[in-house]
């Protein structure tokens, strides 16, 4: 897999943050579907309801995997009161902020389980970790 290869993604964002994220993704060449309100599933409700105040928006589309990784790393470092879950699913990558994780922490969910990365710890390279998650580190 190369960094230019398109990957399908779903990114669940707070409604107020979705427009800026949408613009950033579009500027990075993402082919985006129209944003839609996101209704958490029964299992997700408690996780999302802790955020309480505002509804969620689902941004979905396809973008170069290298760019999506860069945006995710920016999000992980920018989040002030929580972390980011990056989930590899059969349909691509699914990302969402969660207050269940401490600030600056990313939880990668792959076919072999979950891996936790704390961006505030020295020596942790989230870019490499994400590349590994999606198979970008493998030699062709």
């Amino acid at each position: 897999m190369s960094e230019d290869q398109l990957v399908h993604f779903k990114w669940i964002a707070f409604a107020s943050e979705a427009p800026a994220l949408q613009t950033a993704l579009a500027d990075g060449g993402a082919n985006l579907e129209p944003p839609t309100p996101y209704k958490p599933s029964g299992e997700e409700l408690d996780e999302f309801a802790h955020a309480g105040f505002e509804p969620l928006t689902l941004l979905a589309g396809a973008v170069a995997i290298g760019f999506l990784i860069d945006r995710a790393v920016i999000a992980i470092k920018d989040l002030k009161h929580g972390g980011l879950v990056v989930e590899q699913t059969a349909d691509g990558l699914k990302l969402h902020e969660t207050s269940a994780l401490p600030r600056g922490v990313a939880l990668f969910v792959g076919p072999n389980g979950t891996e936790r990365f704390d961006s505030s710890k020295p020596g942790v390279n989230i870019v490499d970790a994400m590349k590994s998650l999606v198979g970008l580190d493998k030699k062709p």
């Binding site: 800026a20 029964g42 802790h50 955020a51 105040f53 269940a100 994780l101 969910v109 389980g113």
Partner: protein, 379 residues
């Protein structure tokens, strides 16, 4: 970007997504006077804090989460215990007939007070979908004794703008009409959240009160004058609805749940229980329904002033600083009254921080367990 906040039940603490600024005692009393977008979120989260102290269903949820945390620390299991799982399902899952959940009711009630306390002028700009209604235009403003007040239309537009706030209020609008809804909705919502099945009790009380008070025939009224007149009738009606719908169960305050459960020994809740007891004693001579009236009607300026002087969250965290929860009541109870359970503001903030860290560790473990479950189900 619109700021976001979070309220955490097991610690009663608040997080606000923004930079710290100095606290002012008047923020809760008159937040609309300040040009600070984060105050809108602060007020909303403090309302959730007051709800948890006063509404039995929510205090019971906090109790379940606290016991789950203790269980997690004892056994390592982050799976919600059966009773908590049932309570969370009741909280989040919409009633199949009514189409909304207890969580919707809880948020709608809070939203009601957001609109009332902050006023349309502060909230219309947050909703671009309402751009066609300039907030100062005649249909949205009415004048009482020469002073501008928001109109029913302004209120109804703001209450109807988002799905998860709108549905319960819409039920009131349909059954009571707009003027009566402004009076009855916050009271019925408040008492319904003191019952074991809030959505059903709410719906039953809405039916019982439809037309009963003839509020829709009043050409014009000041809601702060009408609330004291109808308070006891609505409380009694909701108590009857609770008994009818919940097999004889009674309405239960947050204070009762805290006092009669392990929350009485919870380091943060014990502090607030002592304050609740102190306020119940002190306020009784001056307010007919004391604590209940103030918690049920935090939009009433006198109620809100009392609540703000007595109960503030143990810690309100910003990106780069925090506010503590010292109030006039906590100071006087600790220093003058010598009440042992009442903590200093810094000790209380540290305790809340500690519980937050532990609760987040449990939620993270729960998240990992959920993904493990999904993986094993799909393999």
């Amino acid at each position: 970007m619109s700021p976001v906040g979070r309220f955490t039940r097991p610690s009663l603490s608040i997080e606000l997504d923004g930079d710290h600024f100095p606290f002012d005692d008047n923020y809760l009393y008159g937040p609309a006077a300040y040009d600070e977008p984060l105050l809108r979120v602060y007020v909303h989260e403090v309302l959730h804090f007051w709800q948890t102290l006063s509404q039995g269903f929510l205090a019971a949820l906090a109790l379940g989460e606290w016991q789950q945390l203790l269980e997690f620390e004892r056994t390592g299991s982050a799976e919600p215990q059966e009773e908590l799982q049932a309570a969370l399902s009741l909280f989040y899952e919409p009633d199949p007939v009514l189409g909304f959940s207890t969580w919707n009711l809880y948020e709608a009630l809070c939203r009601f007070w957001d609109v009332h306390i902050l006023g349309p002028r502060k909230l219309f700009p947050v909703h671009p979908e309402l751009d066609m209604y300039p907030p100062d235009s005649p249909p949205l403003v009415r004048y009482v004794d020469g002073l501008p007040q928001y109109s029913s239309l302004a209120f109804d537009l703001l209450m109807g703008v988002e799905d998860h706030y709108a549905a319960p209020y819409r039920v009131g609008l349909e059954r009571w009409g707009s003027p009566a809804s402004v009076i009855l909705f916050p009271l019925v919502g408040y008492f319904a959240l003191q019952s074991p099945i809030p959505v059903l009790v709410f719906a039953d009380a809405v039916d019982q009160l439809a037309g009963a008070l003839e509020l829709d025939k009043e050409p014009s009224f000041v809601i702060h004058d009408v609330w004291p007149q109808v308070f006891e009738v609505v409380a009694a009606t909701c108590a009857e609805s609770c008994q009818r719908v919940c097999q004889g169960a009674h309405l239960v305050t947050g204070r009762s749940i805290i006092a009669q459960s392990p929350l009485a020994d919870h380091p943060v809740y014990a502090h607030y229980l002592a304050l609740l007891n102190a306020a119940a004693e002190t306020w009784k001579p001056t307010i007919p329904s004391g604590l209940e009236y103030c918690f049920a009607l935090p939009g009433d300026p006198n109620s809100r002033q009392r609540l703000a002087n007595a109960f503030r969250p143990p810690v309100t965290r910003f990106y780069d600083g925090y506010w503590t929860g010292e109030t006039m009541l906590s100071f006087s109870a600790r220093v003058l009254g010598g009440v042992a359970e009442v903590q200093t503001d810094t000790d209380l903030a540290e305790m809340a921080d500690d519980i937050d860290r532990r609760f987040r560790a449990m939620r993270e473990a729960g998240l990992v367990a959920r993904y493990a479950r999904q993986r094993s189900a799909s393999s």
